[in-house]
Amino acid sequence: MKKRWLSAILCVSLVTVLAGCGGGSKSAEENGVVTITHYTIDSPDRTFVEKLIPDFEKKHPNIKIKVTKAPYEQFDSKLQSAIAAKNGPDVTSQWGYGGFMEYYNKGMLADLTPYLKDFKASDYNIPENLMDIYKVDGKTYGIPLNSYVSVLLYNKDLFDKAGVAYPPTDYEDKSWTFDKMVENAKKLTVDSKNLAEAQYGLDFGWGERDQRPQYFGADVYSEDTWTNGGKPSQINLDKPNVIDAYKQIYSLIWEKKVSPTPAFSKSVSGQFGDPFLSGKIGMSAVGSWSLASSNNFNFKVGVAAIPQGPNEKVRSVLYVDPLFVLKDSKHPKEALEWIKYLITTEVQEKSIELSGGNPPVNQKAAEKYYASFEGIEPAQIKQVYEGAFKYGFESYNHLMDNYSQINELFINELAGVENGEKKVEDVLPVIQEKLKKLLDRVNK
């Protein structure tokens, strides 16, 4: 009896195994039809492109699109191993931790210039300066798809309760300064050890930690970083203006006490959550992706301009998401057809709703985006976006090589300052030293 049972299982499992082997290995290139793989994070605001495929394939009968997915945290590792195994996708973007310059310096990206002879950015209403972000030495490596900016979200309920006037949306309003914002924040803050009572006026999450001094007119990296492929020749963490900028940033938590401590943020929103969502933060300087879920917030939300700070030129971080074609792609031309389709006005307009509120790079489609948030005037969002573009600087993580390692260094070392255990002037020399060693090692 037992033996028969055992061999039955053996047979079943063998059959299953063999049956599975047969599938999968079909050739994709029958009758000149090519398959383009589009690799993305498995999140509705990215995977919505699947819904556009039938329409695209009808218009381009010789191209098939296959979407492959991975969770955000595992996006990079899956991409790296797929490329190592010569099984990489055709089209993807910097949706993981790594950024453009990292991809570029690893030689992952295809130069699109030869295929872009009759491509005009103006046909797709893409501003020329956005196209420049993904050029190196005049060669184009990426086509912009979405453009996020920095915005100042504020909790209207807390403003009403404290009797503070809403902040303006106009970047040219000269009365809206950093000091004014801090002053507002003071009125909104209830600094208490009791978590249920405590609330804070401002969460200044402007850019990543190494970019933040830029708002105060200080640059952590030398100017040549932005032209030489994201490799700084000099680090300025020992310069007085950079030290001063960091002191200003962290004085918001520890001297002025208008910003939440990391302990508070974690206790109200978990390890990676945004404390603004708890309704305990008056204003939050964040990337505009936070707007996408604003319809689910527990409170009324408003959007305002980032106030005028010490740096007159840069007040907003731009996060322009591009699409890349990978170097190993066998069909870069067809891949580009798919990308071009995704940035047409019609598709970009459709994508806003399908994605749940991704800001289109196509400025004509953007008009529709501005009008897609409950309880926020379209004209206000438009004004904030236009100001942010005018005073914007591209996010460092898109421009620097080995950014994930650099960013991690800043996060780890500055944690002591954020917790109030260490002083800025003690920590910055440590970062300076470690960053130098890191850059020497990776840029050899």
């Binding site: 037992k2 033996k3 055992l6 299982i9 053996l10 499992s13 299953t16 195994v17 599975g20 082997c21 599938g23 999968g24 290995s25 994070i41 498995d42 999140s43 509705p44 605001d45 990215r46 995977t47 296959k66 979407v67 492959t68 997915k69 991975a70 969770p71 955000y72 945290e73 595992q74 590792s77 899956k78 191993s81 797929a82 190592a84 195994a85 010569k86 099984n87 978590l195 249920a196 109200v268 969502l277 708890s278 309704g279 305990k280 992706w289 996408a292 879920s293 689910n296 917030f297 527990n298 749940g356 991704n358």
Partner: protein
Amino acid sequence: MEQINLAAPAPVPVKSKRRPLSWNRIIGFILLLLVTVIMLAPLWFMVTTSLKNSKEMLAFPPTLIPQTFAWENFSELFTNTEIKFGQQYMNSLIVGVLAVIGTLLSSSLVAFGFARYHTKVSNLMFMLVLSTLMLPYPAIMIPQFLLFTKMGMHDTLLPLILPNFFGSAYMIFLLRQFFSSIPNELYDAGRMDGCSEFRLFANLTLPLAGPALATCAIFTFIWNWNDLLTPVLYLDSQENFTLPVGLASMMSSKFRLAPWNLLMAASILSSLPIIVLFTVAQRRFVEGIVLTGIK
């Protein structure tokens, strides 16, 4: 019938079942209670969050008991076409069950060989098998990925199942140790009765190895059920994802609020098979010990 003299002292003084309450015991009890509460708190949050609606899940301070019980979170997991939870559950079960079958079949055969047949090189071979334990998965990740991709198994469940049919060093070690403890006399008796070598394995060794096999089954199932890296590498489309990938995907976007309530509901459902397997296999475990009580 003889009359029982109830008044007579019992031959052995009967110990009162309850020991008198001492401060030590009370403090001990309170401490244990505290630890229990601390241990159960995360579980409590998982269960309550799974029953909150999307507004309440963000409320601060969090409510201890949901104001309205949103049972629809559970049904939404199966009806929401963007999540494909049911399909992913199925995939995980297929991988888990076949992995257990594969590991048990292959590892027990190899372990039987190592335990029963001794040649000059068997120790060396056993060492070789054990040395594969030292290889971390990332070291074999890319070559294995290449192999399975070349075989056209990319984006199927096969790369997750097949390796289990080629034995697992850890399980071979575990089973060999167990098989070695089965007395030789049993095998001699079997041979006298005309058992073939395979029958010695299938009809004699395996039934006696209940506890060891149950342990192997539990370990293998849990490893495969929880594995995230391998499925992430091999699986591309949502309908082929296993549960860990699906769950990771649910909180994968920094651009959006994670649906914590759905995620918690999904977590509860995904921990069920492990709990069930554990309770069932644990009984087998004890049974096994009773059955093999040869002295």
